[in-house]
């Protein structure tokens, strides 16, 4: 008889691990729940670090290499902690035709950040997206989860300055 697999202990008493565990339990700790589990880690912690990858691998009884492979294959997952504010510039076709490159240039000029970079004080991350599906409002930016349509470098920078000063 095969003994039941030993589940690893939670990495810390941070309550967010219970959310991650709940996702795995809902899928019966099956290996195919890997992507769903990584989503719930990233939703809870903002990114995937080594501790969480090792914990997920051990819990789902998968090799760490496979978990790392999946985590790095998909664009949504990030292994770096995000800034307090995330500014995602859409680079879909409609936004590109309506000059979303100017938005990225404006961010680069003002904050010195390119796509995928976070400011040293951790205040702001600049990211780009393939298409957020807001093509009717091109060019679009997703700022902390909120879609802002018909942006210009001026409107976007003004909004960002306000946010960063407020926090």
């Amino acid at each position: 008889m095969i003994p039941p697999p030993v589940r690893p202990p939670l990495p810390s008493d941070d309550p967010r691990w219970k959310l991650v565990n709940a996702t795995m339990r809902r899928h019966g700790y099956a290996g195919h729940a890997l992507i769903e589990t990584l989503h719930s880690v990233q939703d809870a912690f903002g990114y995937l670090d080594e501790v969480s990858l090792r914990f997920v691998a051990a819990s789902l009884d998968l090799p760490l290499s496979k978990v790392y492979g999946v985590a790095t294959f998909y664009h949504v997952f990030t292994l770096k902690p995000p800034g307090r504010h995330a500014c995602v510039v859409c680079m879909g076709t409609a936004c590109y035709i309506k000059n979303s490159t100017a938005l990225l240039d404006g961010l680069k000029a003002r904050f010195g950040l390119g796509p995928g970079e976070t400011s040293e004080d951790g205040a702001l991350s600049v990211l780009n997206a393939r298409c957020v599906g807001a093509c009717g409002l091109a060019p679009a930016v997703v700022l902390d989860g909120e879609v802002l349509g018909k942006q210009t470098p001026e409107t976007l920078l003004a909004r960002l300055e306000g946010l960063i000063h407020a926090s």
């Binding site: 664009h75 076709t93 807001a134 802002l148 349509g149």
Partner: protein, 548 residues
């Protein structure tokens, strides 16, 4: 449950509604981004203050003209969109005035005429309930005919009859390639095996396309109903919707819809108290364009990296976890209920000889009316762009329209009278695609457009097969050099040669179609490539080559 029971239920929901006028506020993603939620709240509190029950304020799905959002429609109960008074760019401050005007003289300063071609030239099948019903309410879907096709199929038709109807309708896959849906269904139905799966591909990855998003956000029950009918036809008991994680609102509405459908008995172990059992689970994508390819999508559902595998075996034979699997796109499933309910003859009477029914397009780019449209197959590109789209803004001239995203191509002005159907678009070197339609004006540089799409394919290549992984990289380097004005005629020749190699040697659709944007811009705008070359001396020192 029989059809009569469902009809009685629908009649009861109708009777429960006593209001005369409805104020519908679009709460799909695009109008929410334009600020429709505060408008909805303002209207709801103003309406509650009035308290006579004559008027009902509700959130509805996409009404199409996204660029004019937030959109608000005032109409008689259940009246269609083009019989309503439509308001554009509404703010919360306008709420009282709109409410006061309902049933009387409209507020002219906010008016968006619905007798314009944008609304009049559309034919709505997939979007028939979009903008009319509250997407989060199952009773509203039922009151407007939801799930009647499912009940009709499982209580009055055999699986073979359902497949015969779908085949006779002439419906072809709306994901882009246009494979006959009925043929796909009958192939899976014939496969032996107790366990079969139905998958809905909602991994809408083409940049510039948002049709599936709008359908899922506006009328999610229509997609679930289509999947359940498919499951009955092919003998599947389990379904998955694979949806992009970038669409949080669509995910939330699908979750709500699945829970409601289960509670009402339209999903579960005994669908509508019959022996037929079917349940649906959601799976989130994680931002990989290649997962729109069916074998990569199934790998992703299994929790693996989304890498395609060679076909055959096709998913119909060996799909998810090795079982026979049916994969269709959101819009394909969204057509099914109407076909079953209204019959294949009706559906086949719309469209052209080889392409039946309608197609939903996401109209965007340099065009006046951007948004979501549903048009009959066979309509000309000129009608879409000049009449429905309202032409090019700022007095600029039209240059090209791009369809099919990174797998498609650009169509120049000379071919604007081409009818929109699978075969005509293919003959122009592009594809129908999933429905993204991006209009470009005279300021667009076609070499730059080709480079944009190649950059996309290069970074989205999964890396499994060499022609795609290396070929897209090399083609991007060549395009980049040409776009910067540093290319040579040899570069252009090499680019054309690579297009052929990558097209014929790649493993999956991503690589096979990646050269299309280059080939089609070369076909119609070769002079732009050559003009870029002419800026430079023909010969460059050897040391500078290969550094791109």
């Amino acid at each position: 449950m029989h059809l009569e029971d469902l009809e009685a239920l629908a009649a009861r929901y109708h009777a429960e509604e006593t209001h005369e006028q409805e104020i519908r506020v679009c709460v799909a993603a695009s109008c929410q981004s334009s600020g429709s939620l505060p408008v909805l709240e303002a209207l709801q509190s103003a309406c509650a203050g009035q308290g006579n029950g004559r008027c009902k304020v509700k959130g509805v799905g996409c009404m199409g003209l996204c660029s004019a959002g937030p959109l608000v429609a005032v109409a008689k109960r259940h009246a269609p969109l083009n019989e309503s008074v439509l308001y554009r760019a509404v703010t919360p401050q306008d709420a009282a005035e709109i409410l006061a005007s309902s049933g009387g003289a409209p507020v002219e300063r906010l008016r968006c005429p619905t007798d314009q071609p944008f609304f009049q030239r559309q034919v709505r099948i997939v979007l028939e309930r979009s903008g009319l019903i509250d997407p989060e309410s199952l009773p509203e879907a039922i009151a407007h005919g939801g799930y009647s096709a499912l009940i009709q199929a499982i209580t009055e038709m055999t699986p073979a009859e359902v497949i015969r109807e779908v085949t006779a309708s002439g419906l072809r896959g709306r994901g882009g390639a246009g494979y006959p849906t009925g043929l796909k269904w009958s192939t899976v139905a014939k496969m032996p095996g107790a366990q079969k799966y139905v998958i809905c591909n909602a991994d809408e990855g083409d940049p510039g396309a948002f049709m599936d998003r709008a359908v899922l956000e506006s009328d999610p029950h229509r997609v679930l109903e289509g999947m359940a009918i498919a499951a009955y036809a092919i003998g599947a008991s389990k379904g998955y919707v694979y949806v992009r994680a970038e669409y949080p609102l669509a995910v939330a509405r699908l979750e709500t819809a699945i829970r409601a459908a289960r509670r009402a008995g339209f999903l579960g172990a005994r669908v509508a108290d019959t022996p037929f059992g079917f349940d649906i689970e959601l799976r989130l994508g994680a931002g990989a364009f290649v997962c729109g390819e069916e074998t990569a999508l199934m790998a992703s559902i299994e929790g693996l990296r989304g890498q395609p595998r060679p076909r055959p075996p096709y998913p119909a034979e060996s799909g998810l976890w090795g079982c026979p699997t049916l994969i269709n796109n959101v819009e394909t499933f969204a057509n099914i209920a109407s076909i079953v309910r209204r019959g294949s003859d009706w559906f086949a009477s719309i469209g052209t000889q080889g392409s039946k029914g309608t197609k939903v397009f996401a109209l965007a780019g340099r065009i006046k009316n951007t948004g979501l449209i549903e048009v009959p197959m066979g309509i000309s590109l000129r009608t879409i762009i000049e009449e429905i789209g309202g032409g090019i803004p700022d007095g600029k001239g039209f240059k090209a329209v791009q369809t099919g995203g990174p797998s498609g191509g650009c169509i120049p002005a000379d071919y604007l009278d081409t009818p929109v159907d699978y075969d005509s678009l293919k003959s122009l070197g592009t594809i129908m695609g999933s429905g993204g339609m991006i209009v470009m004006d005279e300021t667009a540089c076609m070499v730059d457009v080709a480079r944009f799409f190649m950059e996309f394919c290069m970074s989205e290549s999964c890396g499994k097969c060499v022609p795609c992984r290396t070929g897209t990289w090399q083609m991007h380097a060549l395009l980049d050099r040409i776009a910067r004005g540093e290319g040579t005629p040899e570069d252009l020749a090499l680019l054309e040669e690579l297009c052929e190699v990558v097209q014929s040697m790649s493993l999956c659709g991503l690589g096979q179609t990646a050269p299309n944007p280059v080939l089609s811009t070369l076909r119609y705008f070769r002079h732009e490539y050559e003009a870029k070359l002419q800026n430079q001396p023909l010969r460059k020192p050897q040391t500078q080559r290969g550094t791109g």
